[in-house]
């Protein structure tokens, strides 16, 4: 992918990615929220965000990935796991079974009647875990953009087989 001197930024690429990035995030949100009734879900949503992050990497290098979220990537991942396991355990505290789900249907000003299922935070947790994983992988294996467009050799690394773990786990 590298090995050759690259210009610092490609303007068209950067601008296009800015637009696409936002759109993908919206799509991912849609997948998460619609997932309970239509195709989608937290996992797919997370993969979408991951794909969007990879676009940011292409345009801005590891630095862009690192600044995707304010929180460090491992915090994103941990929060996701916390949210999911928390959702699984809250029903136990309320006297139900693990992962028992409930729903509420509040009237919201713009959206009208919205059905909120307690599976949603669980799904959001899954999304955060996937996103956190992708962020961590980019941070671990990705590089920053070269400050000068000098010929530079890739950083040596001794691993090649974990990038697809994300894909095979669920």
């Amino acid at each position: 992918m590298n090995r050759r001197g690259a210009p610092d930024r490609v303007f068209v690429l950067d601008q296009a990615i800015k637009v696409i990035y936002q759109s993908i995030l919206v799509l991912a949100l849609y997948f998460v929220f619609a997932g309970h009734n239509l195709p989608g879900g937290g996992f797919v949503g997370g993969l979408m965000v991951g794909a969007a992050v990879s676009l940011r990497y292409v345009s801005g290098g590891a630095e862009a990935v690192r600044t995707t979220f304010r929180a460090p990537s491992h915090v994103v991942l941990g929060c996701g796991l916390l949210l999911s396991s928390g959702t699984a355990l809250v029903p136990v505290l309320l006297g139900g079974a693990v992962l028992e789900h409930g729903e509420i249907e509040p009237e919201l000003p713009v959206f009208g009647k919205v059905k909120v299922v307690s599976a949603l935070p669980f799904d959001v947790g899954v999304l955060l875990v996937v996103v956190g994983l992708v962020l961590m992988l980019f941070a671990a294996f990705g590089d920053d953009l070269p400050i000068e467009s000098a010929e530079s050799t890739a950083v040596v690394n001794a691993s090649d087989n974990e990038s697809d773990n994300a894909g095979e786990s669920t």
Binding site: M1, N2, R3, R4, A6, G35, H36, N37, P39, G40, G41, V44, M48, A51, S54, Y57, A62, P72, S73, H74, L77, L81, S84, S85, L99, E103, V117, A119, F122, D123, V126, V129, V130, G132, L133, V134, M136, L137, A139, A140, F141, G142, D143, P146, S152, T153, A154, V155, V156, N157, A158, S159, D160, E162, S163, D164, N165, A166, S169, T170
Partner: protein, 815 residues
């Protein structure tokens, strides 16, 4: 009772936490715990000795019906008095022992820690003797092992101390695990884990007999019985207060205690008596013989302790109440004289700097109090009237003479007499050693000029001496305690009074024989030691338990190294092949039986196209030379699979598959750029035909799985699982998307597990990446250098601190 245990815990932790600042005075603080226990025990005395038991219960693991049931009966009271009484004296003694001069200096830094740890040990030991529930007893039992380990190894810069500690915990820990198995067998067979209920209706049967053997092994390891006795002499590297407390007076009696508790219930079942009496006899004799050969006073006492523990096994293990009463007396007497003797050895060690009898030339006048304690203690150990030890030995002989009506009791009686002669002889050796009878003329004459120990240092030993003497003259002092303890062990027992003078009984005659023969042995000590040396030379091919232990340890290490070297040879191709073959081969055996032929080969025309794509891409992935091309080919396989899902009407799966393929290809490429662009087969670990065979095998196996697994669904009778899920999706899962409801609800646990796997994978990947970069920092050859030695290395090192999980700020280029 529970409060006391918690008090020990809190105090112990507090003293450890403040260890460095407290130093020696930690023992003053630590002494509060045994003091409180002694005071509390005294308040309970009347009630408990009248036969009432104090009971406290705290629910612990409710689901398994495990509670901390504490029960204070008379025998437990005796043990509490022993643990806390001796503990209190040891704390006072330790204040003197760790005075800042002499060899105590070596462990000065750790003294506070030692004090706290001893408090923790005292709490655990109290737990052992107070527990009525077998599992709680086991937990406390293990806690004593662990604290013992830490106490032996307290001087952690001394490799001998560490080795001895390791040996102790390996042996007692192994025994503890066996014990747990035994206790569970007994508890499950009886339907109760409470000692107080077990004694009412002890279980029987072959399985119980096996369980009892397990329990006995546990008890033998703890009480240093042959052939598990090697750890106890080794444990003598610990400071003397620890040895006196744990390894003579209290902890090593835990095994005896357990045997004492269980013998009334199980002495007649299985091989209990045979095993206990054989092991006890062997231990008593071997311990005595080895004690007779020691030059180190402390080791002499340690082997003496081993011998006495065997003696106790012989008394408690029979299950006869009269003999058990003798065991109760011996338990008390032994604690009194052995703790005092250890204290004397500690004083000698501390003031003179050696405890080798070849270097002791006798002591000055000011040492008299300490010497009195030593002589009286040794005399009590030897069974000389009118001391406590004499009473216990007399009682034991009387028990075996009058009530030994089981098979082999005469043999045991002979063993006891012979071992008692040995006991007399090594006790005499101890005394003679103190007075310089074994001194070598050329050795430095330090002991004559050594400063006598201060009063506070001697006082605990003197107090124990007074006990040995006082109870010996007036055994009525402990009469009530001993009787009540015997009744607590054997509810049907009618224990007799203790007497100093019971008339010219056969027991008394045997005592005279012991003393006479012991004196003879002492007078002939030169010949005896020559005989022992030649005997041990002749028997040198029989390994000692120490050698056996070391051999076992080395054998385990050797086997582990060999197995690891064979299984983990470091070749990634071999690892992958083995893992794949096992992971696919094992299920294949099960699946192949369910093979039901091919289903419909082609359902729609789209399948033909998709299959062609998959096959072409898969074939291409395996033959292209460039890595990235292969990764893209794999992605093509994945996309075609997604196409399959679409054609079968599974948009969710297709969506996920597309997303995964996209992302994993990106990540693939991200990582692949660290590797050479093309594959290089410099030295393939596995020849190509082998690789192809493995690949073919895995492919065939997966093919069979897929067909059999999808076919297996139709074998399920009744409403199918998938249909049930579709039906329940909206009503129970509150969602119309069945796939998602399965993920978050029906199979929510699976998802939980999967995201945990993701987390582990992320952490693993990051640490792998970091370890790869770390090797740059220390200048080791990097992975790329190994692969491509020709490539110029103008790589810029990473800089700046990184967060623990991310952050590898290396510069490099991306396209």
């Amino acid at each position: 009772m529970f409060t006391l245990l918690v008090f020990h815990l809190v105090l112990g932790v507090a003293v450890i936490a403040a260890g460095r600042r407290l130093g020696r005075s930690g023992f003053a603080l630590a002494g509060l715990a045994p003091l409180a226990t002694v005071v509390w025990a005294l308040t309970q005395t009347d009630e408990v000795l009248d036969g009432e038991a104090r009971v406290e219960t705290f629910s612990w693991v409710g689901g398994l019906n495990i509670a901390i049931d504490l029960r204070l009966d008379a025998f437990a009271l005796l043990m509490v008095a022993l643990v806390s009484g001796v503990g209190l004296l040891i704390c006072i003694y330790a204040l003197g022992y760790f005075q800042p001069h002499g060899p105590g200096d070596v462990v000065k830094d750790n003294v506070g820690r030692l004090a706290g740890m001893m408090t923790l040990f005292a709490g655990a030991m109290l737990g052992v003797v107070l527990s009525d529930h077998l599992i709680a007893l086991f937990i406390f039992w293990e806690l004593t092992s662990i604290t013992s380990y830490l106490l032996i190894g307290n001087d952690d810069i001394n490799p001998r101390a560490r080795a001895a500690a390791l040996q102790a915990i390996l042996i007692t820990g192994m025994g503890g695990l066996v014990l747990l198995a035994g206790l569970i067998i007994i508890g499950q067979s009886a339907g109760t884990y409470l000692l107080s209920e077990l004694i009412l209706d002890p279980p029987t049967g072959a399985i119980v007999n096996t369980g009892l053997i397990f329990v006995l092994i546990g008890a033998f390891t703890k009480s240093a019985q042959a052939p598990f006795s090697s750890w106890l002499p080794g444990a003598m590297v610990a400071p003397t207060p620890v040895s006196a407390y744990l390894h003579s007076a209290t902890m090593v009696k835990a095994g005896v205690y357990l045997v004492a508790r269980l013998a009334p219930m199980f002495a007649l079942s299985g091989n209990w008596r045979l095993v206990v009496l054989t092991v006890g006899s062997a231990t008593m004799l071997i311990g005595g013989l080895r004690a007779l050969r020691q030059h180190d006073l402390k080791l002499l006492l340690a082997y003496g302790t081993v011998s006495q523990l065997g003696f106790m096994m012989l008394l408690f293990g029979t299950g006869d109440d009269h003999i058990a009463q003798a065991g109760v007396v011996l338990l008390l007497a032994h604690a009194a004289f052995k703790a005092a003797l250890f204290m004397v050895v500690g004083m000698v060690d501390h003031q003179v700097g050696t405890r080798d009898i070849r270097k002791l030339h006798g002591f000055g006048v000011s040492w008299r109090p300490a010497l009195v304690a030593g002589v009286v203690g040794a005399a009590s150990m030897a069974g000389v009237p009118p001391l406590f030890g004499f009473i216990s030995k007399e009682k034991a002989l009387e028990g075996y003479v009058d009530h030994g009506d089981f098979v082999g009791s005469t043999v045991i009686l002979v063993v006891i007499v012979v071992a008692s002669i040995l006991t007399f002889a090594y006790s005499a050796r101890f005394v003679l050693g103190l007075f310089g009878a074994f001194a070598e003329p050329e050795a430095d004459d330090l002991s004559h000029v050594a400063r006598a120990p201060s009063f506070g240092f001697v006082a605990p030993a003197l107090l124990l001496t007074v006990v040995s003497l006082g109870v010996g003259i007036a055994p009525v002092l402990v009469d009530r305690l001993v009787k009540a303890s015997t009744v607590a062990l054997h509810p049907a027992a009618e224990p007799k009074h203790l007497h100093l003078w019971a008339g010219f009984t056969s027991a008394f005659m045997l005592s005279l024989v012991v003393i006479g023969a012991g004196t003879l042995l002492t007078l002939l000590r030169g010949q005896v030691s020559t005989a022992q040396r030649s005997a041990s030379h002749a028997l040198r091919f029989i390994p000692t338990s120490e050698q056996a232990f070391n051999f076992l340890l080395r054998a385990v290490g050797f086997t582990a190294r060999r197995v690891t070297g064979f299984l983990q040879n470091g070749s990634l191709p071999i690892y992958v092949s083995v893992i794949l073959m096992v992971a696919t081969g094992v299920p294949l055996v099960a699946f192949a039986g369910a093979w039901s032929g091919f289903g419909d080969v082609v359902e729609t025309p789209a399948h033909v196209v998709l299959v062609a794509m998959i096959m072409a891409a898969a074939l291409g992935a395996s033959i292209v030379r460039r890595r990235i091309a292969a990764a893209l080919m794999l992605a093509a396989v994945g996309y075609a699979m997604a196409g399959f899902y679409v054609s079968q009407g599974a948009p969710d799966l297709a969506l996920t598959q597309f997303a995964i393929e996209t992302l994993s290809t990106v990540l693939f490429v991200l990582v692949l750029r660290y590797l050479p662009a093309t594959w290089t087969h410099r030295a393939p670990a596995i020849a190509a035909p082998m690789r192809i065979a493995v690949s073919m095998f895995v492919g065939v196996a997966i093919f069979v799985f897929a067909l059999v697994a999808s076919g297996a669904r139709s074998d399920v009778p009744g409403p199918q699982q998938s249909e049930a899920m579709v039906e329940n999706s909206l009503t129970k899962g509150k969602g119309r998307n069945v796939v998602n409801v399965i993920l978050v609800d029906f199979r929510g646990w699976d998802t939980m597990g999967e995201i945990t796997v993701l987390l582990v994978a992320a952490v693993g990947a990051v640490s792998l990446a970091r370890s790869g970069r770390r090797s740059d920092e220390i200048g080791a050859p990097t992975f790329e250098e190994i692969l491509d030695p020709d490539e110029p290395d103008d790589f810029v090192d990473n800089d700046g601190p990184a967060s623990p999980l991310v952050g590898n700020e290396s510069s490099g280029g991306i396209s």
